[in-house]
């Protein structure tokens, strides 16, 4: 008969994995409850702490009068911070900026991503390599992208764009002075367009070619096929892309940090950057926390939809 053979195992692994070396073993389901618990415990408990502790602290701080520059003044502030926050024009400007940033990036990446996905789905020479090139910006770290765009592409004197403009006889644009928000949007969109392309291209590959051929036999041209077959098929992937991008775009930070530092003025300050300013530059912990709570709530609204969609996917 087979005797369980004990393989040398690190003690670390042993803590997490229940080893069943005895002869009498059940098939696992009866004490499934206990075993699953011990296997999932580290992941679940750590994530729980990671979520709960900072969250609770943020909420707590948001209700406190706590400024690191004025250590004497502490005390329960109730909703005071929120009052200040919502009457602060900076907040509304930041929300507006956030909205513009997220909105424009979404439009550019989703529309561009869909069209590019359709293009790269077609067969042409060297398609694989072209696709790999088009996907690359997503893997570049945001600080590098921001600097490259600011100094090498958009620089009014030495940048490529101004050189192109001059060659065409057009005036050079000083992107970051005159169009700071647009510049940031371009940078972020450039980074996330490949993300949309990658996801949508993957989703397209599950499109049944038979459907397309049937449509062609029914007399559909490429535009009709795009609107009646491709788009509906991509509907789900597009919503996933939108939701995930929304969640991450709400907190665009590095690009602003590296290029405009939120300026000129508050022109490129989004909610995330505003909170950063309040927290680590103004040291106003109370206000920053209140802002944080607002950001969390906004993100959660989108998150609910995404979680529901993923849940539906889990059913299958």
């Amino acid at each position: 008969m087979s005797a369980g053979r004990v393989t040398p195992v690190g003690s670390f692994l042993a803590t997490f994995m229940v080893t069943d070396m005895n002869k009498t073993r059940t098939s696992g389901r009866t004490i499934g409850g206990l075993r699953t618990l011990s296997l999932q415990a580290p992941a679940v408990s750590l994530l729980f702490l990671w979520m709960i502790v900072p969250l609770a602290m943020t909420v707590w701080f948001s209700l406190q009068r706590y400024n690191l520059l004025m250590p004497g003044m502490t005390g329960f502030a109730g909703l005071e911070n929120y009052e200040y926050l919502f009457t602060d024009p900076a907040l509304w400007s930041a929300m507006g900026t956030t909205l513009l940033m997220v909105g424009w990036v979404l439009v550019i990446t989703v529309v561009g991503g869909t069209l590019l996905a359709v293009l790269f789905q077609q067969d042409f020479m060297g398609r694989g390599i072209a696709r790999v090139l088009a996907i690359s910006p997503f893997f570049v770290m945001p600080t590098v992208s921001a600097l490259v765009w600011k100094n090498m592409m958009m620089h009014p004197a030495n940048g490529v764009l101004s050189w192109v403009a001059e060659s065409l006889g057009l005036p050079a644009v000083d992107w970051f002075s005159s169009l700071p928000l647009t510049s940031i949007i371009i940078i972020v969109a450039w980074q996330w367009l490949p993300f949309a392309l990658l996801i949508l291209l993957t989703a397209m590959q599950s499109l049944d070619e038979d459907q397309v051929e049937a449509a062609r036999m029914d007399g559909a041209g490429p535009i009709a096929i795009f609107f009646f077959i491709t788009l509906p098929h991509l509907k789900r992937a597009i919503s996933v892309v939108i939701m995930i991008e929304m969640i991450f775009l709400l907190t665009i930070f590095a690009e602003i940090f590296v290029t405009t530092s939120g300026g000129p003025g508050l022109a490129t300050t989004n909610l995330a950057y505003l909170i950063y300013i309040r927290a680590l530059l103004d040291f106003d912990v109370g206000m920053a926390s209140a802002g944080g709570v607002v950001a969390i709530i906004l993100a959660n609204i989108v998150a609910i939809f995404l979680v529901r969609m993923v849940a539906k996917n889990l059913e299958n």
Partner: protein
């Protein structure tokens, strides 16, 4: 049959015979698509290309009018590599990215295993809850984490960053592993059980070898996400533990005359990650969309 023959003889007067029309349209189509596809791809890739190119220029060339013609030099790479600073930041990036990934995998593999093979009624809920923790905007908890790290002495330490990144990536890693484990045919593990394998042996001899590609993609994605992370790395580190993201960011105030070196440094900073991205592009879609798109 005769009708056809007569038809073709008098064909010249009837419908003009095109020379393989289908073939030429297809060729045309492929050509135009290729032109369009490559143009767009090159346009998108251009900034990266330009940066890499600049790394090989002299500083004078770098700020001159943009040109593809120049005499290449390796002096920038030499200088960047000789600077002790760069090596330290690169080291930090490596340690933090790989360390957090390894830790995340160690914690996630048992969890994903139990969710995939020992599912209970609560499994689905747990998975979705993990997903939701990833949606917490980092900026929302910037304050407590910063203060906590400051009080505990984790500010500007690699350990602190590793902890943050492990927890940040854990949901994605668990999810991706879960989908890969679920893809594994159950009966192979059952056959193993009938052959006498205990749980650990099942995992070591059967599960891991067969899901190794999936685990590798998951690991690579986690490395990519950690390496490129530019919020916590900018706020929680300064001189000691700053990874490359922060190092590059420190050049944001224009000082001129060093774009070539910066380009060289940046190229080195992003090159491995772009390669990782190219390698795992297909599988990482699962992780990036939490399995919603596969």
């Amino acid at each position: 049959m005769t009708t056809a023959r007569t038809h073709s003889v008098s064909g010249a007067s009837a419908s003009p015979v095109k020379r393989s029309p289908l073939a030429s349209t297809l060729l045309n189509r492929r050509l135009w698509l290729g032109v369009l596809g490559w143009t767009l791809a090159l346009m998108i890739f251009f900034p990266i290309f330009w940066m890499v190119l600049t790394g090989f220029k002299t500083e004078a060339d770098a700020i001159a009018d943009p040109s593809l013609i120049f005499s290449p030099t390796l002096e920038n790479y030499a200088e960047v590599q000789s600077r002790a600073g760069y090596a330290k930041f690169a080291f930090n990036s490596v340690v933090v990215a790989f360390g957090s990934t390894l830790l995340a995998l160690l914690i996630a593999i048992p969890a994903a295993y139990s969710m995939a093979f020992l599912p209970t009624k609560r499994t689905k809920g747990t998975l979705l809850w993990m997903l939701s923790t990833k949606m917490l905007p980092p900026v929302g908890v910037l304050v407590p984490i910063y203060l906590l790290f400051r009080d505990v002495g984790l500010l500007d330490t690699r350990t602190g960053l590793v902890i943050v990144y492990t927890l940040m990536n854990l949901p994605i890693v668990v999810w991706m592993l879960y989908t890969f484990f679920k893809d594994m045919p159950k009966d192979i593990l059952e056959a193993g059980r009938m052959d006498g394998a205990g749980t650990l042996q099942e995992v070591i001899y059967l599960l891991l070898p067969l899901t190794l590609p999936g685990i590798a993609s998951t690991g690579l994605l986690a490395v990519i996400l950690s390496w490129n992370e530019a919020f916590w790395s900018l706020n929680l580190t300064s001189s000691q533990a700053a990874p490359l993201t922060a190092y590059i960011a420190s050049f944001s105030s224009p000082e001129g005359l060093f774009w070539a070196k910066l380009s060289a440094a940046s190229t080195m900073a992003i090159a491995p990650i772009i390669v990782f991205g190219w390698l795992t592009q297909k599988q990482m879609v699962r992780g990036l969309t939490f399995g919603a798109v596969k």
